[in-house]
Symmetry: C2
Subunit: 341 residues, 2 copies
């Protein structure tokens, strides 16, 4: 089956391809009779216009690109799900790209997306992204940029985030209210904003409740895996620093850390109360079930797309646009790992 074109349709109907194009695109200056002829035939032959050829004139691909650090990660899967749902409703296609937490990849992938003339790029930054030229290039090319989750505060654009500092504060406060006085914090690397903010939320809660901050109780995780969490907790325990609670900036390393606690005969929550961040799938089925902070990933994905459409519409009308920042609220999920006896 060779590909149909406007020209072929036009020949079959004995009209010009200009008219066929107009009928297909809903222009008003086409007679109802002609319009119907065209619509019927194109439906019967299952004709769809060539997207690339159309782009050459319209300059709109109806494709967006999404760059995330990882794909097989529940939070990002949820974000992507939200984006896909909204994109489908607006008849957009979505190219997914994975930076593997690498700044170099991020630069390379952005170039690929720009080459592809996507209408927008949504990005959650890699852990080691320290420079924003590649993001500025997106905006300079006239492509809409949406930052979400791991954003940079130093670049203006629409943004979709949660209040990391407040959420971390809430988690820490929850442990304090349940009697913890010496809380360990498993944090992320120094650079990412979310890792900084969650750390600051933790610190602020200690302050507000007059608990002393001790940097020895802060453990830095790099890979955020459960096995890393296990190792880190083992080595922390071997230092014999007193503690009665753990707030981890992510669920997964905490799951490993819990294993270590158990093996060291520390009961959760009796001896040590723990709370994570992210509400990963099945954390509610662990024993004890894991207290955590739930992030509305799907809704955040929807919102990314909505902000994109808003910016696109005002761009089409050549209006100026004020970047929007959406801060989603999180939910404290109190489960058994932090219960008071």
């Amino acid at each position: 089956m060779s590909k149909l074109t406007l020209e072929i349709l036009a020949e079959k109907l004995n009209i010009s391809k200009a008219t066929v194009s107009k009928a297909l695109n809903g222009y008003k200056d086409v007679s109802p009779a002609t319009r119907n002829k065209v619509l019927n035939l194109s439906k019967n032959l299952n004709f769809y216009p060539n997207a690339q050829a159309a782009f050459l004139r319209t300059k709109s691909t109806k494709v967006i690109g999404v760059i995330i650090p990882h794909i097989n990660h529940p939070f990002f899967s949820n974000i992507v799900r939200g984006i896909l749902d909204s994109a489908d409703k607006h008849n957009y296609l979505v190219i997914i790209l994975k930076s593997n937490e690498s700044y170099e990849n991020e630069k390379r992938l952005i170039d690929k997306l720009l080459q592809q003339n996507v209408d927008g790029i949504f990005i959650s930054l890699a852990q080691d992204t320290h420079d924003l030229k590649h993001l500025k290039k997106i905006q300079e090319s006239g492509t809409i940029l949406i930052q979400f989750d791991k954003i940079s505060k130093l670049l203006e654009s629409s943004k979709v985030i949660i209040d990391d500092r407040k959420s971390a504060y809430t988690a820490t406060e929850h442990l304090i209210k349940n009697g913890c006085k010496k809380i360990v914090h498993i944090r992320g690397q120094l650079l990412p904003q979310i890792s900084i903010d969650r750390f600051l939320g933790y610190k602020k809660a200690l302050e507000d409740y007059n608990l002393s901050y001790d940097s020895n109780r802060v453990i830095m995780a790099n890979k955020m895996t459960d096995s890393e969490g296990y190792e880190l907790m083992n080595s922390f325990i071997s230092k014999n620093i007193e503690f009665d609670g753990v707030f981890s900036m992510a669920d997964l390393p905490l799951v490993g850390a819990m294993e270590s606690l158990k093996q060291n005969n520390l009961n959760i929550p009796k001896d040590i109360k723990v709370i994570g961040f992210g509400n990963w799938l099945l954390t509610d089925r662990l024993s004890p079930s894991l207290s955590t902070i739930d992030q509305p990933g799907i809704l955040m994905g929807n919102e990314c797309f909505d902000l994109f459409i808003k910016e696109l519409n005002s761009k089409k009308k050549k209006l100026s646009f004020n970047y929007k920042k959406r801060v989603f609220s999180t939910k404290l999920m109190i489960r058994n790992s932090s219960k008071q006896e």
Copy 2:
């Protein structure tokens, strides 16, 4: 910053755009001096040719489309991860689409991908897909089709799967060898091939070990969620049918079913041994840890892409191509939920 074009580069260098194009695309009939001039300038100006315009001549978009039932599902995330990795290596972009297990969506999404002129479509079929016209249309349009995971046996194409029947047999056999004689099977809907094959593997194992098959011990899950598994197990238990093991075609409903077993004072694995399918994230951290069948999702994703490239190359050379079928082996993960005392 207005977009650069070949023409602009050519003007700056005082040569023709034809020559610029050739230099950029590595044609040999360009003098080294000219080639270098072009390459240097295009690097300095960060020029990349317009992908859509190039397509109009080359008929290759270097984009593939992937249709999966769900995205926030560990197995599919892994498959996608494997596809993304391989695609990136070959400089391909990947459009991800989600059918939500709906045949109607599947048809619609395939049309969108064909309109987009993707070079290939990879698909794992929706639960209720009962007709293959939409898949045939892909092939008729000259687009390469790769089926994976939930495939149709009735349509010829390259395929990437696991041996579901054998894997289910292995899981069931494992329970039998550990003393189970009355094994419940949580199965999927009637249509999908994987649901049929896993059921048949279960049945065959019973036969081979001279255990009677009782259709009352087969429970059908539709949504494959943990809460559904919980409800199904509750209502099964209320029927007072004897059983001592459960083989579930997916981990998630089994997690719910385990909750129900516990609440009914049935000890796992002492009273009831259970095994799932899929090796979902954190199933190793449940208590008891869940025995299951591990599927190599990432490798399967890699393989999908490799088969695509093979077919593409032989298509370019206008050679005939024999569809390949890759059957990956799975791994029996023996954990505590099926341990013999």
